[in-house]
Symmetry: C2
Subunit: 347 residues, 2 copies
Amino acid sequence: MGRIEAIKKYLEENEVEAALITSAPNLLYFTNAAPLVGGYLVVTLEEETLLVPELEYEQAKEEARVSVEKFKKMDELYEYLKRFKSLAVEGNMSISFQNALKEKAGVKEFKLLDDVIKELRMIKSEGEIKLIEDACRLADIGVMTAIEEISEGKREKEIAAKVEYVMKLEGAEKPAFDTIIASGYRSALPHGVASDKRIEKGDLVVIDLGALYRHYNSDITRTIFVGTPNEKQKEIYEIVLEAQKKAVEAAKPGMTAKELDSVARKVIEEYGYGDKFIHSLGHGIGLQVHEWPRVSQQDETVLKEGMVITIEPGIYIPKFGGVRIEDTVVITKNGAKRLTKTDRELI
Amino acid sequence: MGRIEAIKKYLEENEVEAALITSAPNLLYFTNAAPLVGGYLVVTLEEETLLVPELEYEQAKEEARVSVEKFKKMDELYEYLKRFKSLAVEGNMSISFQNALKEKAGVKEFKLLDDVIKELRMIKSEGEIKLIEDACRLADIGVMTAIEEISEGKREKEIAAKVEYVMKLEGAEKPAFDTIIASGYRSALPHGVASDKRIEKGDLVVIDLGALYRHYNSDITRTIFVGTPNEKQKEIYEIVLEAQKKAVEAAKPGMTAKELDSVARKVIEEYGYGDKFIHSLGHGIGLQVHEWPRVSQQDETVLKEGMVITIEPGIYIPKFGGVRIEDTVVITKNGAKRLTKTDRELI
């Protein structure tokens, strides 16, 4: 079933007059247009129309595979929407906008489209997997660049700047998220975005980055040492590596996201570091860096062919440092296939 | 009055038990912490507490000037919030999260904090203006880099990549938004983010970029020519330049945002291009690239000392090309002071 058709099926089954889609990734998913300031996709059983502010009109017409109309003021949009008493919307719609739809467009009933969109977007098409693979190739280049650039005395930010520059020259639109270069004590911060700290001898350095390529994201983490690792650094590296490899080997259609999280978590727990693995094993990735499923103890989603997820166990010891190793993988009928390919044996 | 005190005054006057703040710029504004995955600032008349997921805890404690607590699952957060029957929240809260607060935390009544936050954030402190000034200096470096790099045959994206790299080496955290390098027919797209198009002789090139520096944004646009401009290119450049200069000269405390928009709009209308100036004159800028006031025909906000806005008229002729000239300015008692300083006479 096509993407828009799935929305129409929802409208029919739930007796809702129209769907209104406004978030950037979903606009792109359903229309192929990427209006920057805002866009409003209205889907009814009969037709689908993208409404955009005037300054987005030319660009949206070029990109969209649905019909495009323009409006000058938000009031015109509300006027247009007055024909609908019930709307299916996204859960990330703001409460202010919902209030405006109630007051200015007279919408009486709201339903949430999230489940139908989630089911669609979780399973990537071949075309989407190809784009994520391209984004992963760029992330591999990013990690390689970081490894080459990291040396005693350099600032984390300098390294991140170089990594991002090289990824862009190779075709990335931008980093998928703020590049993490977290060295020394900062490696114990799971989200240690590159700072002015200088790399020192003896530092663990967590490199966590991704590339955005034609709207699709990639995500990879590697951890390296500057100089010779001490026993404890080596120990936690080996544990995280074992946990990551076992999870990648175990991932397959039919198991739940929670079960996959447990594979890695058990390894780390058995070595006594369970309380230092303070986040979930991974997350779906695609048009957004974090999407469904969540590979966590809270998510019972059954893994299926075509899902793309990250597998990224870590151990974080405050003030001492941390290690994380992550790949983006696609679930195939034969198990997980790594889309990020940089060597994981880096000590 | 302090920032948190203004929230407390709101709670008292409106008889609301607590405020819950969750958006990244407001968390930063009120706590100085920048949790990446999520943070929840709870303000009551007695105290203020920032709740963060476990993996953000160490970093938040380092940064925050309020007390920090951690939670493992969202259910713990809902449990914590059960003590409140009424909450003042931000209008950009998602309807899903609001539903969860109703169902899982039993919150009965919601009020919107937006007006009190808007009034606070619109007037920048001296410290904030200093940071925006630094961000503007980086944007000037970005434009200078673009002007040096632009030449026949280069791809727009290559130029954007170099600009962003240089701004980062000079201290920017990242671009404030996707760098626009829009050449030739693409210059007629107000949001023509750099593409694979190569620069050609005779192109108008719109350069619109900004830098993020210690969480504050800057925004500047310059338009240049490759080769010798023709008569029409020169004409629209001169009109936009005149409109921009007149608006910068006119801006002062006491006038409304709408009146300022009209200053530039009239110039462009008098030359017969009114229907080609298809966006508002500008926008407030600070922790966000687009904030209050909107310098548009719809915004009657009275300009005050300490407001930081952009002034950016443009003319866009589909398929022919476009011109936009923009500065970030601060409103002082003596009028607008330009914080971006690159020369505007570029033809």
